[in-house]
């Protein structure tokens, strides 16, 4: 195959549109806002290190709280990397090209902060090395450590390798005067010259990684579900938990990538590259994924709800009609049913409605994880008694909210800075597509038929 020829001058419209741009006023405001949240969260974490986990509202019964539910959320969001860059690639969906890098950086940022938040949850974070020195392979936590580390590395490679030609463009377009920038791009561009051999190598790598990342992505979320499903607890003791978590993760991740894509499209004026067609397609995908998740939800709640075993029954009652009912039904209706209904209509698949619906999906997904983790712990086999009244409930403290918000802000900061440094839509892949218009038309035809 002929290597892609990228013109490095003003005549190349792709470069003008897609090269990373300096933050404008709103961009700076956004970064400042995120930094403030991160700093507050950092301060809260210092307090937690000094005083111990007593600064949280977790106690002997609710021994896991929003740190863990936030961890599960991050793992869920990170699944999108494999969805767009691997599954859509392997199924030959051509319109995915402008979305690949967005979803891959979301995946890397999310899985990175999933690892961070799990350290925040530890009572003795300075003993983290014990996992490597004394690790027991029998523990699902160790499986999670292994699979998350692996996924982080593979996702980073899947982000970095297709980035090489674009880093080289950045390197070549950076004037000698800005020394650090020049060095930075030169270092990461790995002597990229755009030769046919080099292109052949990246294509090979991307293909291998795309195949590799799919089982890994299923793995991270299945193993994470096992942290719960391997216990006897009401609401967790379910053989349905692996696929249930994977389905929820695909839905949340799809919502996440749509939301981020919408913001970037408007902020950097990428309407030419990310078209209404993209939103329409992604919306259809999100409907499908939401339907699958709805199916698993029905399984997960209807089957034990039909039997109402003693402790299961109490747990379900607290979700259906009790303390957590308002949150539970909000999440199910606004995080799943409403999005499905809205996006079934063509008007509902326009960019703005899809963006709003995606935000609902993401927020719903966060609270859904809370509802998976916390209410179960409040319904142990032996009823909670002989403890202070406050131990019967769980309401996160400001420190927990601050640290959790900081982790979310941190993930967004990673994405923001990535966009500042690198082209968020792959220039060389877009050029490649433009240079092979026949294939493009064929794909469009194929899609129109479908």
């Amino acid at each position: 195959m002929e290597p892609v020829k990228i013109k490095l001058d003003k005549s190349n419209q792709l470069l003008t549109d897609l090269m990373p741009k300096k933050f404008n006023a709103s961009g700076k405001l956004w970064v400042g806002f995120l930094l403030v949240i991160v700093v507050i969260g950092f301060f809260a974490y210092i307090r937690q290190l000094q005083k111990g986990l007593v600064v949280t509202d977790m106690r002997d019964f609710t021994s896991w709280g929003i740190y863990i539910s936030n961890f599960v959320f991050f793992v869920a969001i990170s699944l999108v990397g494999s969805l767009v860059s691997a599954i859509l690639k392997l199924t030959n969906v051509k319109w995915r090209t402008p979305l690949v890098r967005i979803s891959e950086i979301i995946a890397v940022a999310a899985i990175f902060f999933a690892a961070i938040i799990i350290i925040v949850d530890m009572g003795r974070p300075e003993r983290f090395w014990h996992l490597f020195a004394y690790g027991r392979i029998q523990s699902p936590i160790l499986w999670d450590v292994i699979v998350i580390t692996t996924y982080l590395v593979v996702s980073s490679l899947l982000l970095y390798i297709p980035l090489l030609p674009d880093i080289a463009i950045c390197r070549d377009l950076t004037p000698e005067s800005s020394k650090f920038k020049k060095w930075f791009y030169t270092f990461f561009a790995l002597n990229w010259r755009g030769t046919a051999q080099q292109y052949a190598l990246i294509h090979k790598c991307i293909n291998v990684l795309a195949v590799l990342v799919v089982p890994l992505a299923l793995g991270i979320h299945t193993v994470t579900s096992w942290l719960f499903a391997t216990t006897y607890r009401a609401g967790w003791d379910s053989s349905n938990f692996g696929p249930y978590f994977v389905a929820g993760a695909f839905q949340a991740g799809c919502g996440g990538v749509i939301a981020v894509t919408y913001v970037l499209r408007n902020h950097y004026n990428l309407k030419k590259y990310i078209t209404t067609k993209h939103f329409d397609n992604m919306a259809k995908l999100l409907v499908l994924l939401s339907l699958v998740y709805l199916y698993f939800n029905i399984n997960e709640y209807l089957v034990p709800g039909y039997k109402m075993k003693t402790v299961d029954g109490e747990h379900l009652k607290s979700l259906f009609t009790g303390h957590y009912a308002p949150l539970f039904w909000s999440v199910q209706i606004f995080g799943m049913i409403v999005p499905i209904v809205v996006m079934l209509f063509k008007k509902g698949r326009a960019p703005l409605p899809v963006f709003i619906v995606s935000l609902m999906v993401v927020v719903g997904a966060w609270f859904k994880r809370f509802l998976i983790v916390v209410p179960t712990l409040l319904h142990p086999f032996i009823p909670i008694q002989n403890v202070p009244a406050s131990w019967h409930t769980y309401m996160p403290t400001w420190e927990e909210w601050a640290i959790t918000a900081a982790s979310l802000a941190g993930a967004l900061l990673v994405i923001t800075f990535f966009v500042r440094l690198f082209p968020i839509i792959s220039i060389w892949e877009m050029t490649e597509e433009q240079q092979t218009p026949q294939i493009d038309e064929q794909t469009n035809l194929y899609e129109a038929q479908a």
Partner: protein
Amino acid sequence: MDSKNNDLNDSRRDFLRKGFVATAAVATGLGLTETACKDTKSKTGDTVKLLSPDGKIVEVDSSMINPAIPDSLLSNHNVREGVPGKKFVMVIDLSRCRNAGKCKSACSKMHYLPDNRSYIKINKMQDSDKAAPYWMPTPCFHCDNPPCVKVCPVGATFKLTDGIVAIDNERCIGCRFCMVACPYSARVFNWDTEYQLNITQMNEIKPHAACSTHVTGTVEKCDFCPTNTAKNELPDCVQACPNGVFYFGDEVEDVVSNGDETVRLSQLLKDKSGYRYLEDLGTKPRVYYLPPVNRQFPFKDVEGQNETDGQTSHESGH
């Protein structure tokens, strides 16, 4: 494996030793210097900071610390070894429990816990609406198929050969997976620094080196009072109960005792229909219950025992 254990044991011993010295230093003032001078070891030049009971930082040469206490004063207990040839077992007779609470206070005292905290809980149970309520004390069940040990990522909780499920608080990373894995809510966490022992208590707990010193950010639970059992003494909750609710013994001997009466374990379980709580979970607890029949005391509810109504009825599993 063994060398690791020894290291760990040594560090624990060192810690206790330091605690001992710090107390001695405050108690005897300058006397410490004399004691240290008697020892042939020369000064190393390294100083060690110690916290005295009144909160002052005392700095002493590290050479003064190790020789100050002979090893014999400290327990040789290895946290990862059980009492050889034993399989400890407990039987709890629910027909005798009237929620006197003495087991809890004895447990708190033995383990240097605040009054409102103990490893044993006395739960109000009611198997169904029509069934009579009863009290059920729950220590750790020291299961033979322990879900908590299975899930521990670092081997901080483990089975001893004598059947006890023990915890190494120097190893625990505080992930609390064991707490959610335990179906009986037997485990508690040191959320706060307030439970951490001070130097005086560390000195007092010296004979109980096998027991937790409440390391902040780690999990702990009932340990069947390992220093008692190693000396053929009953755990403190068993000794403290005024109604003989708890029987404790060795399954290998097939004998359990509540202090007053000593009986064959198999005979007791046979005669009184002994059972294990939630047997169908397959955790194989080492704690058996005798059903709450022919009760010795009328059930008297306690104000504020259970703040949430409508949550009390549960299958007791028998």
